[in-house]
């Protein structure tokens, strides 16, 4: 008989993380929407100064990290549901992880205008 292995003990952690990151993203969206209404997209200079603000940079970074973690849990769940062969699944997991880490790094480079 095939043995089934369940009991990985990270279910709650991921579930909670997905909710918390969702709240962070929602809050960021509200802040950015309010800023847009406040006219920060009026001219390039205003927008540039706004995004150069330390606090805005910090929450943008927080948003990107939340987005990546949220997407990781969600996309991983899709692979877990639909892709059964272990080799293909692990490959997809690794590709997803690499892509998300890459996006996060790229975002950091953009936010802090790194060379």
């Amino acid at each position: 008989m095939k043995r089934l292995v369940v009991g990985a003990h990270y279910g709650l952690m991921d579930w909670l993380a997905q909710r918390i990151t969702a709240i962070i993203m929602a809050a960021y969206t509200v802040i950015m929407f309010a800023a847009t209404l406040g006219g920060v997209t009026g001219s390039r200079e205003v927008w540039h100064a706004f995004m150069a603000n330390g606090f805005i940079r910090f929450i943008t970074f927080l948003f990107i990290i939340s987005l990546c973690y949220h997407a990781w849990v969600g996309v991983r769940d899709i692979w877990m549901d639909y892709v059964k062969p272990a080799t293909i699944r692990v490959t997809l997991h690794v590709l997803t992880l690499l892509a998300l880490v890459g996006y996060a790094g790229w975002a950091v480079q953009i936010i802090w205008r790194l060379p």
């Binding site: 369940v6 009991g7 990985a8 003990h9 279910g11 991921d14 769940d77 549901d81």
Partner: protein, 233 residues
């Protein structure tokens, strides 16, 4: 009351693995009297007409849960589905519960479903010596079990759940999780943390994505999604 007869059309999923190469839908009609009020009454008439049609049935009053099937695309109990609730002139489409292996016609193999149910230890665990008469609860504590203990294990919910379709071997499913919370919420049970620990897995409990098909189809009006949410707390 008049005893007028009327003809009702059916489209029924037929599959006998001994005879049929693959399943097919059979068109069949039946004469009903006004006393044939529920779908199960009509099916009993159908069976009298063509005794090769197979389905499970027992109590005919929504207590045993054996006549669960997919009725016009939605899981339910044939004995609780009122004939007058079906649109006139359209055939009633009957299929077996989705996601479980078909044994014959509308009869499915429930092994996987009960395996998951048994995996949550659906019995009271209490290591204290049994009292003279019974383990008592306060009315408030007993109230906690309402909406949980009434499950008849008909499998309408679990077989309507996409998460159960994709991972029936790993995801406990709404029926099993409702039962799990029934014992988690029971003040007489002493294995609460073991029970929660057993569910703490990305598959067993957390494969539920709050699709809520289970709540939509439950013939007893129960809410497994709510029980799952409480277990997570």
């Amino acid at each position: 009351m008049t005893n007028a007869t009327r003809t009702v059309q059916f489209k029924i999923y037929r599959y006998d693995p001994d005879r049929d190469a693959k399943p097919y839908m059979q068109d069949i009609s039946v004469e009903l009297e006004s006393t044939d009020r529920k779908l199960l009454d009509a099916m009993v008439k159908l069976k009298a007409q063509d005794d090769s049609i197979s389905f499970r049935r027992s109590c005919r009053e929504g207590v045993c849960g054996s006549d669960a099937m997919n009725i016009n695309g939605k899981n339910g109990l044939a004995c609780l589905a009122a004939m007058e609730g079906f649109p006139e002139g359209k055939p009633i489409v009957l299929r077996p519960l989705p996601g479980l292996p078909v044994i014959r016609d509308l009869i499915v193999d429930m092994t996987q479903f009960f395996k998951q149910y048994n995996s949550i230890k659906p019995y009271l665990i209490n290591n204290d010596p049994p009292p003279e008469r019974e383990r008592l609860q306060s009315p408030e504590d007993r109230e906690e079990l309402n909406g949980l203990y009434e499950c008849i294990l008909c499998a309408c919910c679990s077989t309507a759940c996409p998460s159960f379709w994709w991972n029936p071997d790993k995801f406990v499913g709404p029926a099993g999780l409702l039962a799990a919370y029934r014992f988690i919420a029971d003040t007489r049970d002493q294995a609460t943390s073991e029970r929660l620990d057993d569910l703490e897995d990305p598959y067993r409990l957390f494969r539920c994505h709050t699709i809520m098909n289970c709540v939509d189809v439950c013939p007893k009006g129960l809410n497994p999604t709510k029980a799952i949410g409480r277990s997570r707390k």
